[in-house]
Every structure is written in structure tokens, then in C-alpha cells.
């Protein structure tokens, strides 16, 4: 028996809060035996500085096309994968989700690999930026290419 074809079900840059339950329901199918959900959330501390919130900006048209390309490449590598990816832009509070990747498969290894591959590639390739808002009132764009102290 051959694995079912992989499918990218949904890729989007959004401004509304990410609804993880709704995204989980999108990947459901009778052949699914494992669903891996990755959520990136805004934390209250970075590099020892208290953070009050995070602002995300995207080059939206390219961000969507790069996300789609990453999802397509991941599906080409992992047969039978069902994928959903959303990244939020705008100003987010502590604890809110900035990104969601849902990968479903018949088996757990492929589901978890799929979710990990997408988020790792997203962080390398997708033109999205974040500016931390600190409790002190300062704001700073994060640059992952700078060595963290």
C-alpha cells in the first residue's frame, strides 16, 4: 500500500489571534494517527530584560510565498503529510501565539519531523521581523545574526 499524497492545507500571514483548535481541526482525516502542533509564544523575558510585548512585521507577499515554498518542500520530502502554517503579525501580548505549525501523519515520527522542519526553515528564510517592547519603555528589533551575550 502506498502512502497518501502530502497536502498543504493552509498557509497564511494573519493579524487575528491564532486559533490552535481551529488549525488542529483542519488536518483531521481518517488516516491520521499523529498530530504534531508547534506554537511559538511571546515570553516575558529575553536576555535578562523583562519584556512587555512583541511587535511582528512581515514583507507579507514574500512571507506567504516563502511559507508556501517551505510547506511544499516539506511535503515533497515526507510522503503522507498534512500541513497547516500560520504566522501572526502586529502587536502581541505575553503568552500569545505568534506562529503555529500543525503537521499530521499516519505515524508520529513523520508528524514531528514535519512540524520541526517547517519551523526551522521559517526561522531561516521567511521575511518576518520582531521588535521587543521592554518594561522599561524601550523597543528593539531582534537580530538573530548577532551573537547573544
Amino acid at each position: 500500500m502506498t502512502a497518501p499524497e502530502s497536502i498543504v492545507l493552509h498557509v497564511a500571514i494573519v493579524t487575528a489571534p491564532i486559533d490552535a483548535s481551529a488549525l488542529l481541526s483542519r488536518v483531521q482525516a481518517p488516516g491520521v494517527g499523529a498530530v504534531s502542533l508547534f506554537l511559538g509564544t511571546v515570553r516575558d523575558m529575553n536576555d535578562g530584560r523583562p519584556v512587555s510585548g512583541m511587535e511582528y512585521e512581515a514583507y507579507e507577499s514574500m512571507a506567504e510565498s516563502e511559507l508556501q515554498a517551505i510547506a511544499d518542500e516539506t511535503c515533497a520530502r515526507i510522503a503522507g503529510l498534512r500541513l497547516v502554517v500560520e504566522h501572526r503579525v502586529g502587536t502581541l501580548d505575553i503568552g500569545e501565539a505568534s506562529v503555529a505549525v500543525v503537521a499530521a501523519h499516519a505515524h508520529r515520527a513523520q508528524a514531528m519531523d514535519g512540524a520541526r522542519d517547517v519551523i526551522e526553515a521559517l526561522k531561516r528564510r521567511v521575511p518576518i521581523w520582531k521588535r521587543e517592547h521592554y518594561l522599561s519603555g524601550d523597543r528593539e528589533w531582534l537580530d538573530p545574526t548577532k551573537v547573544q551575550a
Binding site: E57, Y59, M62, A63, H87, I128, W129, W141, P144, T145
Partner: protein, 80 residues
């Protein structure tokens, strides 16, 4: 003639604008654009070889820029 270049995030802050009209004639190369942009006020705060997207695709500095292309200078990405 000039070539419009899109700016985002920290690079938009550097120039106080989301778009630059770079005084150059197309066709030229991405490297020519970058050189002129880095000579503009504040441009020395950009890296020598910033990431560049041409028509929403990553390109190298020897890529050719044609009239009507969408060019963007891309700060280090930080999604997730």
C-alpha cells in the same frame, strides 16, 4: 530615473521611510543599488552585503535589476 526599493523593520527605521527612490537607471545589478543606498544618509548603518529580494525571491548581489522589478532590502529575519 530612479529605482524604488522597499524597506522593512530596522532598515525602515534607519531611513525613516518604507520606500527609497534610488537614483539609478535600470538595468543595473543589485550590488550597484546597494552601493548607492549605503552612500545615502544613514546608509552606513547597513551591512556591506544586506539580504536582497527581487520580485519576492532571494537573490545574490550580481542579480540584474530591470525596470518594474520589485526590490526589497531585507534585515536579518526573526520570525517565529
Amino acid at each position: 530615473m530612479s529605482i524604488p526599493v522597499l524597506l522593512f523593520a530596522s532598515y525602515a527605521d534607519v531611513f525613516g521611510a518604507r520606500r527609497l527612490d534610488v537614483p539609478l537607471d535600470a538595468p543595473c545589478q543589485v550590488a550597484d543599488l546597494v552601493r548607492v543606498i549605503r552612500s545615502m544618509p544613514g546608509g552606513d548603518r547597513l551591512p556591506a552585503a544586506p539580504l536582497v529580494a527581487l520580485n519576492r525571491t532571494w537573490v545574490r548581489e550580481d542579480a540584474a535589476v530591470q525596470v518594474g522589478d520589485e526590490i526589497a532590502l531585507i534585515p536579518p529575519v526573526a520570525g517565529g
